[in-house]
């Protein structure tokens, strides 16, 4: 079980509606506050759910994609696309 702390912290923090609004408007500005690996940033940009799933808690992953406004059907499809 692998945990990327800063990725997980980003997802944890994005439970805040205010931060979600900021993330949607200025994603790079929010991401710059977290010392994320470049490959992780790329996975966030590409909504690469399997890559992210391997690095964080499943509930946090689900919360993140929900916060982005992604429907569950699409999220499940992405999770299974790896």
């Amino acid at each position: 079980m692998m945990r990327d702390y800063w990725l997980s912290k980003l997802f944890f923090d994005l439970q805040s509606p205010a931060l979600v609004a900021e993330f949607r408007a200025e994603r790079d500005k929010v991401l710059a506050r977290y010392p994320l690996d470049e490959r992780v940033k790329q996975a966030i940009a590409e909504n690469d759910a399997p890559f992210l799933a391997a690095r964080t808690n499943a509930y946090l992953l689900r919360y993140y994609f929900f916060a982005l406004g992604m429907k569950d059907d699409e999220f499940i499809r992405k999770l299974n696309s790896g």
């Binding site: 997980s8 946090l60 992953l61």
Partner: protein, 273 residues
């Protein structure tokens, strides 16, 4: 002395709120009736305090510190933080510091070593059942947040032992309080995994059946099957706490039904205490 007057369990799940309008009418009716029946039984037991055993869905704890068990010993807990829980009628939920600290002290004395918090936030895990049970008056709530979200989690046997410990601690509390326990969560569901949406009805029904068997049979079955029954199924730990508190005497199944729209095998149980 205090006494245990009821032990119950009920499922929770965000979609029970967010997708409720899309649940087929018959399932909606059964789920509502089951919650209400638990509410009726809880009210009839006249509890002064309700110990709510629930996971923390990343509302209080993070990877910096995720306790196996945390008892809420404060004067009050905060209501649910999720924006979609905004209609839950309590922003603050009164606690019972006297009993809660007694539970924590007895746990320490008997080698259980819980964390304690003087101010917890109770998320949908605790609050959906409390809401849907339609209680006219909320008893004082002592939260017990038990990790079933982030590995490593307490063993299933330990969760059962926690229930027995709570019972002993309640029985030894000097004030004549009436105390009930509500375990929330389960039965099978899968969150944020490739299997998300799957409900393992056969697992759920066998689990329910084994609650009437020995705890050893139940725990052996769960240890074997939980890894392939969806991560949400881990919340059955909270049912094991209620089971242990009730002396493992088995429960009356109020209802069980898989509800695909809320992606949960919804179970509702009332123990013989």
């Amino acid at each position: 002395m205090a006494s245990l007057v009821g032990a119950f369990a009920a499922s929770h799940g965000p979609l029970i709120v967010r997708e409720w309008e899309h649940v087929p009418a018959e399932q909606k009716s059964r789920v509502s009736a089951a919650y209400r029946e638990l509410g009726r039984r809880l009210t009839a037991a006249k509890p002064d305090v309700l110990i709510v055993v629930s996971p923390d869905h990343w509302s209080n704890f993070f990877l910096n510190n995720y306790p196996a068990v945390c008892l809420g010993v404060g004067e009050a807990s905060e209501g649910p933080p999720e924006p979609w829980m905004k209609d839950f009628p309590h922003r603050q939920i009164a606690g019972h510091p006297g009993l809660a600290m007694h539970l924590a002290e007895e746990a320490m004395r008997q080698g259980f070593d819980p964390a304690v918090s003087h101010r917890l936030t109770l998320d949908h895990g605790a609050c959906i059942p409390l809401w849907r049970m339609e209680l006219e008056r909320l008893p004082k709530i002592v939260p017990m947040l038990l990790n079933s979200i982030e590995p490593p989690m307490p063993s299933l046997a330990r969760c059962y032992q926690w229930g027995a410990l709570l019972r002993r601690a309640i029985d030894s509390y000097a004030e004549p309080l009436r105390v009930a326990i509500l375990g929330t969560g389960g039965l099978s569901h899968s969150i944020g995994e490739p299997t998300m949406g799957a409900i393992h009805e056969a697992f759920d029904r066998e689990t329910i059946k084994l609650f009437s068997s020995s705890e050893q049979s139940l725990i052996e079955f769960l240890e074997a099957k939980l890894p392939n029954s969806g991560n949400g199924s881990e919340e059955v730990r909270n049912w094991l706490v209620a089971h242990g508190a009730a002396g493992g005497r088995g429960f009356e199944l109020v209802d069980y039904l898989p509800v695909p729209k809320v992606i949960v095998g919804c179970g509702f149980a009332s123990w013989r205490v």
